[in-house]
Subunit: 424 residues, 2 copies
Amino acid sequence: MFNPKMETLPREEIEKIQLGRLRKTIAFLKNSKSMLKEKIKDIHPEDIKSLDDLKYLPFTTKDDLRDGYPFGHIAVDPSDCVRMHMSSGTTGIPVLNLMTKNDVAQWGEIMARCLACAGLTSKDRLQIMPSFGLFNGGFGFHYGAETLGCFIVPAGAGRTLMQLKLIKDLGVTAIGAIASYPARLIEVAQENGFDFRKTNLRVAILGAETWSDEYRKRIEEMMGVKTFDIIGMTETGGVGLGIDCEARKGIHVWEDHYIIEIVHPETGEVLPLGEEGEIVVTTLTREGLPLIRYRTRDISKIISYEPCECGRTHVRIDRIKGRTDDMLKVKGVNFYPSQIEAILLKYKGLAPYYQLVIENVKGKDEMTIIVEKTDGGLTDQEMERLNLELYDFLGFRSKIQIVPEGTIQRVPGKAVRVIDKRKK
Amino acid sequence: MFNPKMETLPREEIEKIQLGRLRKTIAFLKNSKSMLKEKIKDIHPEDIKSLDDLKYLPFTTKDDLRDGYPFGHIAVDPSDCVRMHMSSGTTGIPVLNLMTKNDVAQWGEIMARCLACAGLTSKDRLQIMPSFGLFNGGFGFHYGAETLGCFIVPAGAGRTLMQLKLIKDLGVTAIGAIASYPARLIEVAQENGFDFRKTNLRVAILGAETWSDEYRKRIEEMMGVKTFDIIGMTETGGVGLGIDCEARKGIHVWEDHYIIEIVHPETGEVLPLGEEGEIVVTTLTREGLPLIRYRTRDISKIISYEPCECGRTHVRIDRIKGRTDDMLKVKGVNFYPSQIEAILLKYKGLAPYYQLVIENVKGKDEMTIIVEKTDGGLTDQEMERLNLELYDFLGFRSKIQIVPEGTIQRVPGKAVRVIDKRKK
């Protein structure tokens, strides 16, 4: 563990810290330059008698942060900030997160805990594959590795053959990457007779996308590594909000820095342990962009508040199933692309490259699943079983097109899984 | 100044520090894991009686560093390093520079001095436009800004329209970029009615390529900024070896960290003040890759050892004219692309986008200069004068093709100035 004292606090200690820091964050926000303070103008820190009172506070949404562009939602003067990151903004006004020196240190701390949770020490060699820049992924791993003191290979995105060469030549032991990228690493490795088992690589820390357990199994088998699922987003201060451990019994969220709630995506009602809903994050130690009850749109559930096998005591949530924005509704059925992925990847003959094409044909929804084959593809029998499994899950027939390897375009950054032609 | 005490040391103090650190570097290298120690196995630190004895030490070349790939030329164990950068390696085996924690701090210090020399303080907002990753440019600016404490907009390379948007929306006061990139910024600004004078931008720190005084004038006029010429390379520890100041009387090289010699590119003989030759760098404070007399291949001359108007006392060298690798020999005449650029950009009707195409036609060299026009292009009279000027400089006739704006491909990273078809 990077910070054993904080990572193993008894629950009552965690909650005491959370209550104190929540009050402090409310006071800080109320006295700040942020326009978000309007939302809590009638609330006083001393009104919060227990963590249970959190549910009475208003939510903060992505639109609230967009409305602040560029700096209206930032609590401190930009001149007192040293860094910034930005959400991709492909769908409109971007969201900026400005960071003070303390925020950068906080990020380094939570990311160092994540790296240590994935088994890394200062002796490891970490190749960082998400891009460095406005996207928070590259720098998040950078600050974590800096705090942990391990050796950084700052590869950034792309140049897959070079990435493989560096893994081998530099004795790299761990990689950090966008979840879909290992599929590309494996593909290029196969094309070039590259054997991961002849390298020192043993850990892959993956995030920024929803990825299924079946994809996970596939990656681990083919690369001979242990994978770890890391979460976080620009708004909350970047990647590093939480990660799973070797026990693989949920994602540990660093509760001395964040409060997690799960709420009903439509009603906003707080849901009890075990029920699936939207993750809501309250930051406890951020200065540039302190957030009260931020609606992340990510779907998960709380698994347990009990200590984990690994000894960490912080809350564990389920791996993220999808984002409310990613949820598809086809023929009236709701589902996430990752759920289709989980079905496809049960078949060894199918590759982790797929696209769901949805169109409206004569007033009716139709979905075609395009998926690449590996080696032999599927037998007729397997094809029949796959059809049945998909029908069992979806409740309607979808067309399956099995295409040769390399058919679906490889893109830098996040994978394009859905082509919804109905939206035009 | 970022470090007034060190930046204004009297010459005898500088030389005392240099002598001590040179001996220390030799001792460090001799006791290290680096294969480069073989070169100095018969030399002992106490043999170096004065800085004048440096000339008896053997050179280190880029090939020496390539021979060490990956870690043979590194002085410390990779496990004791925290970072690395890599030269582009487009022409063969890449060169790695591994950095200890102290090396990263040293880099932050020299880059902070450079930023301060360009007039930046902790209150500035610096947009970093070179890519972050294996290339040292992005991270060099990052560490300097971190050390100086100013606000970083980590834009990285590309997305020019977004770069402009960020400059404006975030009140950016300074940019760091590859020297040819402002030409693209200006071009996209014009296409989009973007006015640099309506922003807070006042400083552009440019490097990684040779750029002429005429290009400089053009950029300053069109962007309304003051430009600064920054030098450095992966091998010496990255960008930040030196920079010019407002007085614009040469590039200040941080002599408490580096010793600069100018040598004859062929004989290796040390040249006196004012004579043009190859820059040779000896590092005085680097741990991962300490270098004795590294042949940089960059051509310059020493301008003065006297204090500058700005108060800094470190040696000043001329702006870099080109690299020995970049030197062209056409019809027996030697010249650098930047010298042609300087002639072209005297004409307001020509744009800073040009290519020199050299071919062998029937056994004879021929050079075509392809250059884009801006607005009206050249009058017949100007065209005649340009032809004459080029002939005066080159001593042979070259063909000039003036093409419309946007003809020459815009590339991310360093510009492609020369297409030498003779090499095939």
